[in-house]
């Protein structure tokens, strides 16, 4: 772990192409440690691609990205030790596993001591009811699956937590419960959280600092409240940013 940087995330000219299509175009961004940072954009703007580059899932076509000072291309294992990722679809993949089995799998991959105890602690932390922990995840509600995903992402005490649209598909109570959970985690775990969403209300509620991405390019980086004092003003400003681009 590099102690020499103040930034949890550093991107310098990150570009990612898929053939002729440029999904992320020369994104440069620095996120200080310990922030709950918002990453806002429309569907297809490049949010997920950016997260996938930062979490070593996708190599950048050009540019340099570092997490906690570790290059995502040159030191993928070091980066993976530092990150946790909650994606909106991965929880569907192992529907025939129980939450305990799912988390134990990752606890053992991380060589955590007392994996069973750790799993129970994490499930306590995200608030998954004990009666459901031994049942197949395919029987869970979307909110419960998302809790399990967050528990997995928190495993090994990550320094940077990437949340890719963590509340998509959740109903309002579940969404608010999830927000409350994220706030609590940010405080309790002191983890830098990179929250990607197209939900302006969510971003505005949770994050003080944000970046806005449109068609692969960053169009705004700064304080959330600078975009508007209330949600309406915030959203109008966002629409202006997004439509003026390109």
């Amino acid at each position: 772990m590099s102690p020499t940087t103040d930034y949890a995330v550093e991107m310098d000219g990150i570009t990612r192409r898929f053939g002729d299509f440029v999904a992320v175009d020369q994104v440069t961004l620095k996120i200080p440690k310990g922030h709950l940072y918002g990453f806002l954009g429309l569907n297809g703007a490049g949010k997920t691609t950016t997260i996938r580059v930062l979490t070593t899932l996708l190599p950048p076509t050009a540019g340099v990205a570092k997490l906690w000072g570790h290059d995502v291309v040159k030191e993928p294992l070091a980066v993976r030790r530092l990150v946790g990722l909650v994606s909106d679809e991965t929880s569907e993949s192992q529907s025939t596993w129980t939450a305990r089995e799912y988390l134990s799998y990752f606890a053992r991959l991380r060589h955590m001591p007392d994996p069973r105890d750790q799993v129970e602690r994490l499930l306590d932390q995200v608030g998954l009811d004990v009666t459901f922990r031994g049942k197949l995840m395919g029987t869970y509600s979307t909110g419960m699956k998302r809790r399990v995903e967050i528990a997995r992402a928190l495993m090994g005490h990550p320094k940077v937590l990437f949340l890719d649209e963590p509340t998509r598909g959740l109903d309002l109570p579940a969404k608010r419960e999830m927000w409350s959970l994220l706030r609590r985690l940010a405080v309790d775990e002191n983890v830098t959280t990179f929250l990607s969403s197209h939900d302006s209300h969510e971003i505005r509620s949770l994050c003080d600092e944000i970046s806005v991405i449109a068609r692969g390019r960053l169009v705004y980086t700064g304080a959330t409240h600078d975009l508007g004092a209330d949600l309406d003003a915030f959203e109008e400003c966002l629409i202006r940013l997004l439509t003026n681009q390109g």
Binding site: L57, L58, L77, T90, S93, W97, R108, A153
Partner: protein, 485 residues
């Protein structure tokens, strides 16, 4: 050391994960039940020709789509996103996946052992089974290698493409086995089409080990065949690893133009090199599969002039198959079975038969004892038999007997030293001389046929052996269902 620990952990977790699939245990039970059921039914005929080819040849090739699916699945369902945001090295993960596949293959191989033990307990270890015991692990490894390559090549959200391709390759590889046997049997093993059959690792390994399933000749040399086989197996594994680690990301193709050409050429080489260079000098005689007597000609469509019936029984309506007991249960090996042997003399009942002398000789372990008086009869006890539609035996003048004499000889049959657990056909030769009233010289009756025998207890023993592991799998499925519902 760190890598070994990492691979070991990944291997253990992935192995456990494999059996967490919705129908993993039940699926294993169904496959083992099917294979075991085939082994049990196979006791009723030549076991290795039926069950053996499927269990030791075709099912191992089934690991092609299995491997393709298992490698492609974590990408299709995006589980790799979770795995590779944990501190997991992709090289270790691929190695662990490969080891899991090898473990499943080994488990399948071990699952065949109870049935094999029942078989060898009764008939020993015939040459073909010895070859199968080497052929099968070879096929399993080759199938895993090819399946892994297919699984790596197909990146996508659907498993249909990799498993479908795996199925296609499986069918091609399996279909080339009988094609090659046929072509070699016809002397066309070295033609262009004959060469094409060498694209199948199953055919290559069969040639390399020097055995056949039906053909009568094997290649005189095997060096290039072994090399071709290694090109496929090592080539597929090496290419899969290289593509996975160097030409792909976690879920995306990252290959350069040069890498794409390299991959295409490597795949083409794995198909073309064996076809072009593997040995096709089919000049050596194939070894015998077992100790079965070479009596193929006996079982042609032609009938015979004798029948085997229960003591005092009527002759069969359709007469007479060269397998004397084809329409009834096979005889039990190492058991004495009383029957009446009926000789259908080509003599009309208008003629009188005297001085009948009969010799009955069982072969290859078939002991036949007959009533001594019945074999030597001055005035044989004759029965009349009427034949319909010219189905009677041909008389000396060529006409088919319409109402002829039939001789009944009580015999006891004891087939011993079986060479297979079922479908043992023991040859039986009967020669008889008899005198027709008014003729100077005695006539000769000669017939050759066979009796079908099997190890009579084998079906029960095989059924028991075949049900142990499926029941275990069903038990595991039930336990998991109860635990997680």
């Amino acid at each position: 050391m760190t890598m070994a620990i990492s691979v070991a952990t990944l291997y253990a977790e992935e192995l456990k994960a494999t059996m967490r699939g919705r129908f993993a245990w039940l699926g294993a039970a169904v496959i083992l039940l099917a294979v075991g059921g085939l082994a049990t039914v196979g006791t009723q005929d030549t076991w290795l020709d039926g069950y053996g080819i499927i269990a030791y040849g075709l099912v191992p090739l089934g690991f092609i789509p299995v491997a393709a699916g298992m490698i492609a699945s974590p990408r299709a369902n995006r589980f790799v996103e979770c795995v590779f945001t944990a501190p997991v090295n992709r090289r270790d993960w691929l190695a662990a996946k490969f080891l899991v596949l090898v473990t499943l293959a080994a488990a399948y191989y071990m699952a065949l052992v109870p049935m094999m033990l029942v078989y060898t307990w009764h008939v020993g270890l015939p040459a073909l089974l010895q070859e199968f015991l080497i052929w099968t692990p070879g096929l399993l490894i080759a199938s895993i290698a090819v399946g892994t390559l297919i699984g790596v090549l197909f990146i996508g959200r659907s498993l249909a493409a990799p498993t479908g391709t795996g199925m296609g390759v499986l069918l091609a590889y399996a279909g080339l086995i009988p094609l090659q046997e046929l072509m070699v049997s016809q002397g066309n093993g070295a033609t262009r089409s004959g060469h094409l059959t060498l694209a199948s690792p199953a055919v290559l390994l069969k040639n390399a080990l020097g055995f056949t399933l039906a053909a009568s000749s094997i290649p005189a040399t095997t060096r290039l065949t072994w090399i071709s086989l290694l090109v496929i197996v090592i080539g597929a594994l090496a290419l899969a690893a290289w593509v996975f680690l160097r030409a792909q990301g976690v879920e995306t193709w990252e290959a350069t133009r040069r890498q794409r050409w390299t991959i295409a050429i490597a795949i083409a080489a794995m198909i073309v090199l064996p076809v072009m260079f593997a040995d096709t000098n089919y000049d050596n005689p194939a070894p015998h599969a077992n100790n079965a007597p070479a009596i193929r000609g006996l079982f042609s469509r032609a009938g015979t002039s004798m029948a085997l019936v229960p003591p005092g029984g009527k002759p069969p309506l359709r007469c007479c198959s060269t397998i004397l007991n084809r329409d009834e249960w096979p005889l039990g090996t190492d058991e004495r079975t009383a029957r009446d042997l009926l000789l259908l003399l080509p003599v009309e009942t208008t003629n009188r038969v005297t001085d009948l002398h009969t010799k009955i000789a069982g072969e290859v372990g078939l002991n036949v004892t007959a009533d001594a008086e019945a074999l030597v009869q001055a005035a044989p006890r004759l029965e009349m038999r009427t034949y319909a539609n010219d189905s009677g035996p041909a008389a000396a003048d060529g006409h088919h007997v319409v109402t002829g004499w039939m001789v009944r000889i009580p015999v006891t049959l004891d087939p011993t030293k079986p060479w297979d657990i079922g479908g043992d056909r023991y040859p039986l030769t009967v020669t008889a001389t008899y005198q027709i009233a008014g003729e100077n010289l005695p006539r000769t009756f000669s017939a050759r046929a066979a009796v079908d025998a099997q190890v009579s207890s084998a079906i029960y023993e095989m059924g028991f052996a075949a049900s142990i592991l499926p029941l275990f799998c069903i038990g595991c499925a039930l336990v998991r269902w109860r635990r997680t519902r």
